[in-house]
Symmetry: C2
Subunit: 435 residues, 2 copies
Amino acid sequence: MTKIRKIQLNENDMPTQWYNIQADMPNPLLPLLHPGTKQPIQPADLEPLFAQALIEQEVSKERYIDIPEEVLDIYKLYRPTPMHRAYNLEKILGTPAKIYYKNESVSPPGSHKPNTAIPQAYYNYKQGVKKMTTETGAGQWGSALSFATNFFGIECKVFMVKVSYQQKPYRKSMMNLWNGSVIPSPSMETNAGRGFLAEDPDCPGSLGIAISEAIEVAATHDDTKYSLGSVLNHVLLHQTIIGLEALKQLEMAGDYPDLVIGPFGGGSNFGGLSFPFLRHNFTEGKKTRCIAVESTSCPKLTKGKFEYDFGDTAGMTPLIPMYTLGHTFIPPSIHAGGLRYHGAGAIVSQLLKDGLIEASAVAQTESFEAAVTFARAEGMIPAPETSHAIAQVIREANMAKQEGVSKNILFNFSGHGLLDMGAYDEYFTNHLLVK
Amino acid sequence: MTKIRKIQLNENDMPTQWYNIQADMPNPLLPLLHPGTKQPIQPADLEPLFAQALIEQEVSKERYIDIPEEVLDIYKLYRPTPMHRAYNLEKILGTPAKIYYKNESVSPPGSHKPNTAIPQAYYNYKQGVKKMTTETGAGQWGSALSFATNFFGIECKVFMVKVSYQQKPYRKSMMNLWNGSVIPSPSMETNAGRGFLAEDPDCPGSLGIAISEAIEVAATHDDTKYSLGSVLNHVLLHQTIIGLEALKQLEMAGDYPDLVIGPFGGGSNFGGLSFPFLRHNFTEGKKTRCIAVESTSCPKLTKGKFEYDFGDTAGMTPLIPMYTLGHTFIPPSIHAGGLRYHGAGAIVSQLLKDGLIEASAVAQTESFEAAVTFARAEGMIPAPETSHAIAQVIREANMAKQEGVSKNILFNFSGHGLLDMGAYDEYFTNHLLVK
């Protein structure tokens, strides 16, 4: 009997709707507040920044939302993505747990990020938008949006956190190849950027600062909209295709997860995988534990407060009800740039507050140890963000071993680390700046 | 009606045998000659360098050879690989041709190379070998052998062509991650290396030189065997899993190729895809044109001579009947390191001499133009080697357009270019050293 390592869906079996968890949350979201009036914002307030269809999705209570045909067609350049059973890792750990991972690294930009970049570019294109701006940390999101806008003839300008811009030059090249332009942030192109540079000319940047810059450009140009790669409800909605595929694939394998684990920056990676399983918790009495894994360098879920805060550093966004470290918090320069964000999206924050999901934090060194173990066992080289989830998987698999209990663990292999090899070098030579 | 972009095989449908074209070639291969005596070599002459099972495969006339269960199991970490229909590229070119590509870039090292690295490591492991040496150009092969030997606890030492070692530091990191050690070649570790450095201290290296170094280490150490990533018959044999899968996938799509195109360094990439189709030419009267695409900087197929020559620069290998530019030829420093080899494997050389396959050459600039067109159309970023095949595909698709004839074109997307983004930068900024 040969092991089946990969569970593949056919394109015809790919989900054709996203799942909207707002339809099933026991407690509804608190409203976003206008930064000026502190009153609940109206959809119209968001129109300078976002395409109409995305604003509708942001507040929708529809349980399932159709994926446009044009989006499905581009998804099929890399979706459905494979699910793997990590037999080698199980064996090395000597765990009775079964470990499955959903491999989102097969997309051309190398992560799950195009799942929302493609529909965001599409809805903007349908509305006649010619230019889009965004921010990026490690470069995964900026690459994804460049990849997506390129298909629709939209110009893309990416503000990239300066420390990542310096650490990961190949990410810039990749964005350029897909016709995106890249600016290290903080930059002299915006009032926000000039302000941060005046305070600290050596500022390494952060996602919060880059968001301020990208929003400013969109807000001050009529032909330009803004795009966010995580945090917002519509972003998490688009990412649920990951979990919807995973549900089908686990069903093919005859399994259901006891644990669902995803790395956590703003919520899109974790939410995308876990929400379809949480639905079964809410509506079918399942008891899957869903664990969001953040960096100990940026511990908003495990050490932050639930309160209204800005999504960006300069305070230009609506006030969001979320777990936050404060919008002026600038995290240490860990390699997992995608986890360097001060807050958590509203949905995930509400779920955590209500005790419906769990959170955990992993230090950078433990994440690289886990990454190396994984790469030697399964071959695939994880992105630094993904490695945080793997560290948690290893903790849980070891606990299952101690307890002598089998568990089904599913995690999101959200991206590969091929453009992060310099970070592995630092780990091997004991040169990581942050332990 | 939605387009089906990807044709996926299930693991259960993966081929369980390799195809050996030696069983069906109209003219048999000329023998390899002993470098000292100039007489046909005996299998025993190769035993210092290669595991017994590989030597047997080198001279076998069996049509199909079983893939060991342990090899199939590791193949399944990334195989079967997807086949894609390049609808977007077809549309951009406005061609009536159908373009399919076999995506070998999904392996953890990012190319087709593990297809032979895994069985080579396995047969050496079965024979009790503890150490292996090899050479690598752009780093694809060295990564693949490090990846493979890691599963079997074999130490791996890789001599990496110096110019590539400098251009592609991330490849070194990747080999280290999989427990491989990497030495820039020419090096001071071998007599061969010291000799080349004495002649030219700035020698950029070449595959031929690196082979000399790796062979010397294996030949002078009893516990060490050598491994080659292309050229040899057993290497091409292992790679036929690509074409065998492709046959099944095209059958699923209801198509059969008029043209099969692969980039050409030593033959493993091209042979792996094309040999199962050539079999149908030989035995079923099919007329598929199989085109090997080399670099104009290293034109052994289109401008070389068919004669006995050494496989390495120092003249340590058996004499091989092949198309060659001479074993002392050092190609210009193009980014497609895998194409920088002076000769062609014996099987491909014999097939070309007999008029059973075709050859074509592409200049570096044309290859990058093709790569950019492809990446913007299909998303995937090709390796520089792969880009040479894509350039030929575009030529053929344009010809089909001019002639107004539909053709089915299949090519080998043999590797991704994620670790070659610096080369794309040079292309975009007009800094390519070789046009």
